[in-house]
Amino acid sequence: MAVTREAMLERPWEHSSPWLRLAFWDGLWALLIAVGSGYAYWLYQPYMDGYEVAIQIGSTLALITWGLYWKPARRFVLTVALLTVVALWRYGADYELRKSAFLLKYLLESQAAFMWMSTLYVLATATYFVALFSRSEFIGKTATALTWSATVMGLTGLLVRWRESYLLGTDIGHIPVSNLYEVFILFALITALLYLFYEDRHRTRAMGGFALLAISGAVAFLLWYTFDRQAHHIQPLIPALQSYWMKIHVPANFIGYGAFALAAMLGVAYLLRSGAEAHRPQGLLARTLPPLDLLDDVMYKAIALGFAAFTIATILGALWAAEAWGGYWSWDPKETWALIVWLNYAAWLHLRLTKGWRGTPMAWWAVIGLFVTLFAFLGVNMFLSGLHSYGTL
């Protein structure tokens, strides 16, 4: 055992019951979120139906729980809330201010915020790698700060875009998770938050560069999609998407996609490190890349979380399909590929949990799994025709 008996004795055991750890700040946090949510309800209640109110209550509870469970989430949520409120206040009811008001044009207007997000993510990726190879604590902290800032800007941008869509017209307004452009931002945000969570819990920044590579990839796509395809314009919703289900189905899906992407990137790191250890045990890679057991552990946790979220998302999708497409399952290409992704990770988890497979084959599988996921996410929209054709290139 790595821990000495003396050290063990000095460290008091923290009881795992969540109720015992609640304190003043926790109460304040919960109160703040509840009040904020209540205010939002009071403002926007005329636009919401019963389901949407239920979703708002559910999200409020989820947000409170998230902050109680993971403290850094609080600062993040409050910063985003503050920036969003400032943006909404500056906008008032005039969408055209986005072109003239300094604060909006250069910082908080959704496009501006997304550009900040993109820049910061790419910077963070590079910084994480510099930190990894230079072993500098300071650079590592900088990378973390950059990632947090990028995520703040991204989420602020999405929330502001939500409001902007209503400024365009109340019949156009909708939550910005309705097309490929918007969900790519969501993907980047969720992947970053998942990574930041594991970084915090495992007290290591060694995985950062790899996790952020996936996000930088998404950012590259996003920039191409914006500048080459002009995909960033807010479009009204087609009738099939006008449903409260979208608010829960899409985010749940992207927790799954984000977690799978994270697992795949850790799989890449795993393969690099194990390859380096086999060939050049004293080499730079073998010494600096994150340790194998850490990668294996986080890879498993990410896939387990992704699998749980993806299961929920697919079930929500089925429930929605029962309302929109005539049944909970139609073997539509999107549904079928969701099943394929699900079966793939179900097989992965079975092998790991019951057959005890570890290491290189599972890392390879996680990497290949990302391609399967990517096809379900993008390929189906690009190459196959079906009911779920909501984002095309």
Partner: protein, 708 residues
């Protein structure tokens, strides 16, 4: 642990066929293989578009492969016998797995493992062995169970002749996770199969029903292709209802035919409406319907609104807004001849879905009126793909012209002129192959907002006598040329116009290639085209004169542009393939709403499965099943204590907890000095693994390959 290891019983089992079969069906390898097989075979149906009209497949694959794929059921993979068999096999395999694993899981939940040897515990990853001098057994046991309690464990103590064992566990509901998830797969699978085409297939196999493949009206469909209400428990059918009509049936499309499913009520479509955003994109599709059901509603029908995402559920039947189309719009049409010297149009009427007989130059042709659209939102011409600029091109009529041989040209004519590059055109798309790109004819619009001037101009080109008159009047007088030359020149001009009217500019250049030596070809073609152009200009001026346009000041810019556009259109006419241009002059739209009606019996079952799945997954991943043991024996005026533990997962967290538990226990026992840690070498590793009760039970798969 003795209850799980029964070597004698096993050897008896091993000989029976049933046991071997059970072992195979419940094996982990089979389960993973099935997961992968289902995943891979599902891909087929996403790559190959399912349930298309069969002729499309023949065109795509050719007759041989069409038949091969047909036999394999690839056009409806998810209803194919072999695919359903794989799914059924997966359900069976999972069920066997549950049957074999459930008792063990329940035992793990309910029973404390107090029968355990000290050597087994020493083989555990988490194990410490202490000597506690000057203690009595009872006091130590109290402290141990106190620590168990503090860490949230439940325990049981068993007294043996020479020692005591306190066995504890925590998170036992984690064992339910396995049951929930695997039961969910079985429940969802069975429910899904029940809601699928299973019943239809069964009836078809027994010869009770047969697919109808002819294009028949609903009332003509024979009883063998009809399903009474309730004949099958689950179906998904479609019906296209024109406004003002009603139906008490839907069509079930199946492979290359269909069945008629009768409903126990009638749906009347009162009104169908499409709303549009300011940008022209559709905002909503709404059907106002009335349900007539004498038995349940009496004489007062049920009024309801159906929209996308807002189906109407009536008596367990769900009615969805799924499609829309034309319900027989009434059109007034004007046919302008394109290939004769007469330009006078013929007025006619028709409705969408009907066929008009038209006399063509080479016999009768059928004019099939296929589709009318009020709005045509299309990308702005000349816009970049990313510009997302759209324009509403207004009402259109889609029709086919089919000759006696059955060959058809397809057309799409827009009613109102369209502005392109500052000029206005009537636009007509044409294609000879279904699915090919439309080639567009742009007819320039005259001062009266009509295609008339162009069509008169075109008619002139088919009027040889008229042409001669015009040529004679406008002959360029060249001094010193003989009348013969003048006559020859006129003939050349006539021929050129004739060639042009038959085959466009291409025919003129081809002619030049045929008669002029190669070294003078370029020069001669240029000359021909110039002569042609001048001649056409003369004809055009004559058309203008006839219209009463004053030409004393010369031709205006607009007329000049018109002439150029007319030339382009005339050049495209030979490929247009229609003897007339069909102008849509008036319409009365009748819309139709495509409704999907579904009935399902197993939805509740499937949703229960969904709930089980989510509950199971969360229990499995986010709760942890842990066991602790304390083995105590009196020894040399003190107590020997072995503390050991095992966790199903989360080993890092469990290590932390085990360490903390030790620390807590030491505090309870007084001070660190009171505890003497001793090291007893663990038994042989292989034996230890074999003896670890926890691992044996949860991961029996590693030895004999079954689910967990």
């Amino acid at each position: 642990m003795s209850e799980t290891i029964t070597p004698i019983g096993k050897s008896v089992h091993r000989r029976t066929l049933g046991w071997v079969l059970l072992e195979f069906l419940g094996s982990m390898n089979l389960a993973i293989t099935l997961l992968v097989v289902v995943a891979v075979s599902s891909i087929i149906g996403t790559v190959l578009q399912q349930n298309q009209p069969y002729p499309n497949y023949v065109i795509k694959f050719g007759p041989f492969w069409f038949e091969v794929f047909n036999r394999l059921g690839l056009y409806d993979v998810y209803g194919a016998g072999w695919f359903i068999a794989i799914l059924a096999f997966l359900i069976l395999s999972t069920s066997v797995c549950i049957y074999r694993q459930a008792p063990g899981k329940l035992r793990e939940m309910l029973r404390f493992r107090t029968r355990i040897r000290a050597d087994s515990l020493r083989g555990f990853h988490q194990c410490v062995e202490w000597r506690l001098p000057e203690r009595d057994l009872k006091a130590v046991l109290t402290e141990v169970t106190g620590a168990f309690h503090a860490f949230g464990y439940r325990w049981r103590v068993q007294n043996y002749s020479d020692h005591q064992v306190a066995a504890a566990m925590k998170g036992r509901y984690n064992r339910l996770g396995y049951l929930f998830t695997h039961a969910a797969v079985v429940i969802i699978g069975i429910g899904g199969l029940l809601d699928g085409n299973l019943w239809l297939k069964l009836k078809e196999w027994r010869g009770e029903i047969a697919l109808e493949t002819r294009d028949l009206a609903a009332r003509d469909i024979p009883p063998i292709s009809r399903l009474a209400p309730g004949a099958v428990s689950a179906f998904r059918g479609n019906v296209m209802l024109p406004e003002g009509s009603a139906a008490n049936f839907v069509f079930l499309r199946l492979r290359d035919g269909f069945l008629l499913q009768e409903l126990p009520f009638a749906i009347e479509l009162r009104d169908f409406q499409v709303e549009y955003h300011a940008t022209g994109q559709p905002k909503s599709f709404t059907s106002q319907v009335r349900i007539h059901d004498q038995d349940h509603l009496g004489d007062t029908p049920l009024e309801a609104t159906i929209q996308v995402n807002h189906p109407l559920v009536y008596r367990g039947y769900a009615i969805y807004q799924s499609d829309f189309g034309d319900g027989g719009s009434k059109l007034e049409l004007r046919a302008w001849p394109l290939t004769t010297a007469r330009a006078d149009p013929v007025e006619t009427q028709g409705e969408i879905g009907s066929v008009l007989k038209v006399a063509g130059p080479t016999g009768a042709i059928r004019l099939e009126l296929d589709d009318f659209r009020l709005f045509n939102l299309l990308p702005e011409p000349g816009a970049q793909p990313g510009d997302r600029k759209f324009r509403n091109f207004g009402p259109s009529v889609g029709f086919k012209l089919r000759d006696a041989a059955g060959e058809a040209h397809e057309y799409l004519n827009y009613m109102t002129p369209v502005q392109l590059e500052g000029r206005w055109f009537f636009i007509s798309g044409a294609r000879a192959q279904p699915g090919a790109e439309f080639m567009y004819l742009h007819i320039p619009v005259d001062a009266n907002n009509s295609p008339e001037r162009f069509l008169r101009f075109n008619a002139r080109l088919h009027d040889a006598d008229g042409l001669r008159t015009v040529l004679a009047r406008s002959a360029p007088s060249v001094e010193g040329q003989s009348p013969d030359f003048q006559r020859d020149l006129d003939q050349v001009r006539l021929n050129l116009v004739g060639l042009f009217a038959q085959g466009g500019f291409a025919a003129v250049t081809q002619k030049a290639q045929a008669v002029v030596p190669a070294d003078r070809l370029k020069e001669a073609t240029g000359l021909y085209l110039n002569i042609l152009r001048d001649t056409l200009a003369e004809v055009f001026l004559d058309v203008l004169r006839e219209e009463g346009v004053k030409l004393e000041q010369g031709v205006g810019e607009r007329e000049d542009a018109f002439f150029n556009d007319a030339l382009s259109a005339l050049a495209a006419l030979p490929a247009y393939g229609s003897p007339f241009y069909l102008q849509l002059t008036r319409f009365q739209q009748v819309e139709a709403s495509g409704l999907q009606v579904t009935h399902s019996n197993a939805t509740g079952m499937v949703y229960t499965g969904f709930a089980f799945l989510v509950i199971g997954i969360f229990i499995m991943f986010y709760t942890s099943y842990r066991r602790l043991w304390a083995w105590l024996a009196l020894e040399d005026n003190g107590v020997r204590l072995i503390l050991a533990g095992a966790a199903h997962r989360h080993s890092a967290e469990f290590t932390g907890e085990f360490n903390a538990l030790q620390a807590d226990l030491i505090r309870r026992l007084g001070s660190p000095e009171a505890v003497v840690e001793i090291t007893v070498p663990p038994p042989d590793t292989a034996e230890a693994v074999a003896l670890q009760p926890f691992i044996r039970d949860t991961e029996r798969s590693t030895s004999n390959g079954s689910h967990s």
